[in-house]
């Protein structure tokens, strides 16, 4: 197809404003009479709330509202399991849990006043180890868990086991018996934080009819809207959530952060209330990635054919389910990797503990399991004496293969990714002969899940307006989705105006998350544009005395296929439709990855009806390890990603590069450190994310294996950049110095200890 807008590295629509400081983010907004809210958080991991005394704080001049759990309705919210209230009720389940909040005329006053709220607690023993939490006599984090509503059928849960997902293929026992080599290993991964640079924030304001408007940096305004209803029992039709451009999100801003408390304070004070989190609140209290323990057993034939795989995953949920059931279930599904293994048994378990509620962060459960199986694969390659690239190429999935759970994969570019990335990096193993080494790792992911809808209107001047619930996170969603609409309508990009992320003005979207905006919302927008275009074609057909089926739209005109001179402009059609015939052209569409029937012998407890549009990638890194300091220096990075079709190639490169660097931070440094349930390094000095001097240039290779169900063949790219980076680095460290680090992050200390142990045993 001759594409005019899609596939071009067009300048992003949002960046000219961002480059001059004109873009309005949530903390830039100030409303008249606005108050500043502050949250009082639990200092204990597990405790009964005996009494809250707010009298001193209320007496302070300038304090306009104080709320506690007793002041709000008994609603519970959550994406999969409704287990959380906006403010703690009865007991606290993690350090940092919101217990009370107040609003005052200045932020400084609010900070001072919140310290004057006195809370009496009766401390309870804290459940901190997810494995012990599963023991029969373990104390329950949620005594009342059986009464919580669950949105997905067939949930497996009991006590502190929040959810469990099981995938089975073939016959595991037989597969292990038929294998020439069986290898078992255990891995663990730490909690890391998305660390978007813009803190979470919201402003809430009520009108006299009881309607509340919430301005916020949410990745999913439509999900924020329903959480406000669930937690505070305000009718959804009375809640408007309007999203601003986000200063990054990476999953951490999908589910609500401060919005619920801002609404509660705005209701009591009857004034607009703004809450902006501090960096400490971000790192200590806001939804970092689930730590995980992963045990893998793999059976393999002598020639390297993968034959059997058993994986047990335990994700530490923290105190609230949040996106955990989806993350655990999806992580379990990804655990076979982009390889065809006939005999598989995967069990993913999510376990409540008295830690901060972990949540969605770039990769949605996939980075943990991919670190484990891609490290494990290199250990197998080592045992068999097969090159890691060869071993992978021997086992990759291909078009038509079945994913765990039964979905047929239609656009599998993994083989091309491996080949291209090895060529780009000039793949060569050092095998411990120097302090330099190379490592490869692959990944699979998805881009299709749940629903998105869209509206496209043709204006009187022939330009078009697109309405989508997608938020501009910073990844270029505004531009990419506009490019899709422009291409479908035959308009240049500048003729498209896109309205995003507003529950009043845009139709439903299940969040800008899960690498799904381009695929799911892109599909909805493309179909809505086609619908609007069909409306125009009907009008044009009458004018041109032609058949609507014979018409095409291109270069701002509608004309008869093959006879471009026989046509009519969008401008004329815009006027005609508003004044003469047919009426204004409005198209709409809803895209949904519908639930499929699954065989209960193969899938149990999977929280999504179905996931689809699989994406693939392979990354190669070269490192140099200093044997004296244990420091790992990244020398080269190459990443080949199959995105189906790059709607905007420059943008795709940026996603891959940014993801890779987050992955490098996850691999080598980033770790939230817990001490008795408390995160003790909640600042950017002690929680270090990569700086420009820590990382090399990242060479990207875009692979385009078109997805038949994708808009112009496109799939997603958002999350994968990060997913394979940690195992690629672990494999490179092994190649360089012969030590295998099985728990993330790969710190200098762990490397030095491993080197010491190796000397002892050699």
């Amino acid at each position: 197809m001759d594409l005019k807008v899609v596939g071009k590295s067009l300048t992003r629509l949002d960046t000219p404003d961002k480059a001059v400081g004109n873009t309005i983010y949530i903390d830039d907004m100030v409303l008249p009479h606005m108050l500043h809210g502050m949250i009082l958080r639990s200092p204990l991991p597990h405790a009964k709330i005996i009494n809250i005394d707010t009298s001193q704080a209320k007496k302070l001049a300038g304090v306009k509202a104080v709320v506690t759990g007793a002041d709000i309705p008994d609603g519970r919210h959550g994406p999969f399991i409704k287990d959380q209230s906006a403010l703690a009720k009865g007991k606290v389940r993690h350090i940092g849990e919101p217990v009370a909040a107040l609003a005052a005329t200045t932020r400084e006053l609010a900070e001072e006043a919140v310290e004057m709220i006195k809370v009496d607690y009766q401390e309870l023993p804290a459940v901190l180890d997810p494995v012990k939490a599963l023991e029969p006599d373990a104390l329950l984090v949620h005594e009342d868990y059986e009464n919580y509503p669950v949105v997905f059928p067939g949930a497996i849960r009991k006590g502190n086991l929040v959810s469990q997902t099981i995938f089975k293929e073939g016959d595991l026992e037989l597969g292990l018996k038929e294998s020439d080599l069986v290898l078992e290993d255990s891995f663990s991964t730490q909690s890391a934080h998305p660390t978007y640079i813009e803190p979470c924030g919201a402003i809430a304001s009520f009108d006299a009819q009881g309607r509340v408007t919430v301005w916020t940096n949410s990745q999913a305004p439509h999900l924020t809207q329903i959480r406000i209803f669930e937690a505070l029992l305000i009718p959804m039709a009375s809640i408007r959530v309007t999203g601003l451009k986000l200063g990054g999100g990476f999953g951490g801003k999908v589910e609500p952060h401060v919005q619920l408390v801002a609404v509660a304070l705005a209701k009591v004070s009857n004034k607009p209330v703004k809450i902006i989190q501090s960096r400490e609140e971000e790192l200590a209290d806001t939804r970092p990635r689930h730590p995980a323990q992963i045990n893998i057993t793999t059976g393999v034939k002598k020639d390297g054919t993968l034959w059997a795989r058993k994986t047990k995953l335990i994700y530490d949920c923290g105190a609230y389910a949040d996106d955990g059931p989806g993350i655990c279930g999806f992580g379990a599904m990804m655990s076979r990797g982009p390889y065809l293994i006939p005999h598989v048994h995967i069990v993913g378990s999510l376990v409540y503990t008295n830690k901060v509620g972990f949540g969605a962060y770039r990769g949605f459960g996939n980075p943990q399991t991919t670190f484990a199986f891609e490290s494990h694969l290199d250990m197998i390659a080592d045992k068999l004496g097969i090159d890691p690239v060869e071993l992978r190429l021997k086992n990759t999935v291909a078009n038509g293969d079945i994913q765990l759970g039964g979905e047929t994969m239609a656009s599998v570019g993994i083989e091309e990714c491996i080949k291209k990335v090895s060529t780009s990096a000039k793949w060569k193993r050092a095998n411990g002969s120097s302090n330099r080494g190379m490592g490869i790792a692959c990944l699979q992911h998805i881009s299709g899940v749940l629903s998105s809808s869209a509206v496209v209107k043709i204006m009187e001047d022939g330009s078009a307006c697109v309405q989508t619930g997608v938020a501009e996170l910073g990844a270029g969603q505004e531009t990419v989705l506009s490019q899709i609409a422009a291409e479908e309508l035959g308009l240049p990009l500048e003729d498209i105006r896109i309205i995003m992320a507003d529950t009043d003005a845009t139709p439903y979207n299940w969040g800008t998350q899960g690498s799904r905006a381009t695929y799911c919302a892109g599909n909805a927008i493309k179909a809505a544009a086609a619908d609007a275009k069909a409306h125009l074609f009907k009008i044009a057909a009458t004018q041109l005395e032609a058949n609507p089926e014979d018409l095409v739209a291109r270069d701002r005109r509608v004309f008869v296929k093959g006879s471009p001179e026989k046509g009519i402009s969008f401008r004329e059609l815009g006027i005609l439709s508003h004044w003469v015939t047919g009426g204004p052209a409005v198209g709409s569409s809803t895209f949904m990855v519908e639930a499929r029937h699954t065989d209960p012998k193969r899938v149990l407890g999977f929280p999504f009806g179905a996931v689809t549009a699989f994406i693939f990638a392979a990354q190669v890194v070269e490192v140099e390890v200093d044997r004296d300091t244990g420091q790992v220096k990244l020398l080269q990075a190459h990443a080949a990603h199959d995105v189906g079709k790059a709607i905007n190639p420059l943008n795709v490169e940026g996603q891959i590069q940014g993801g890779f660097v987050q992955g490098a931070g996850y691999a080598l440094a980033e770790q939230l450190t817990f001490d008795n349930g408390k995160i003790i390094n909640a600042n950017l000095m002690d929680y270090k994310i990569p700086a420009a001097t820590d990382v090399p240039n990242i060479v990207t290779v875009i692979v385009e294996e078109p997805e038949p169900t994708g808009p112009f063949g496109a799939k997603g790219v958002g999350e994968p950049g990060l997913v394979a980076t940690a195992p690629a680095l672990a494999n490179a460290v092994y190649d360089a110095i012969g030590v295998r680090i099985k728990d993330l992050p790969i710190t200098s200390e762990k490397i030095l200890n491993a080197l010491k142990d190796k000397q002892v045993y050699v």
């Binding site: 992003r12 480059a19 001059v20 998305p194 960096r279 490169e653 890779f660 600042n683 700086a691 420009a692």
Partner: protein, 155 residues
């Protein structure tokens, strides 16, 4: 006790009423009203609030308003001149160096300070100049190439 401070921001004089201990970033954002300068951490670690003070990059969250009196403050709003984007701003747009945009103002000011001193930096010098400006979106690749390209396009 609040006092009146006279600040010179982007060549214009502003009189603001503020506590002497108020962080400069808050004063610039909410008393002067130039919200292009961003606050990401409040502890000088992320660099989002970077401004130029007499041409030198500083994190304005660690500076008190009283310390900025009598100095030339440059914020992102003062980088474009006479409606013309600075070559750095144009290069950031053209090279895809801006994603979420929250680090961008500070990043551009650190880069400007570098190019004002070193018009033709090497890649390593660029990386060092922006090492205090954390970006979580781009992986720095396109930021570095934008700064190097802008250096080639300086008037």
């Amino acid at each position: 006790m609040k006092q009146v401070f006279t600040l010179n921001v982007n060549g214009e004089t502003y009189e603001v009423l503020a506590e002497p201990t108020e962080p400069l970033v808050k004063v610039i954002r909410f008393r002067v009203g130039l919200t292009g300068t961003k606050e990401g951490c409040g502890t000088g670690d992320c660099g989002a609030c970077t401004i130029l003070l007499d041409g030198k990059p500083v994190t304005s969250c660690l500076m008190l308003v009283a310390q900025a009196q009598g100095k030339q403050i440059t914020t992102i709003e003062g980088v474009a001149q006479n409606g013309q984007l600075h070559p750095l701003q144009q290069a950031f747009i053209d090279h895809g160096a801006v994603q979420c945009g929250f680090c961008t103002p500070g990043m551009i000011l650190s880069a400007k300070a570098l190019l004002d001193e070193t018009p033709h930096p090497r890649e390593q010098e660029v990386r060092e100049a922006i090492a205090g400006n954390l970006c979580r979106c781009t992986g720095y690749v396109k930021i570095v190439s934008a700064i190097l390209a802008a250096a080639d396009n300086l008037p």
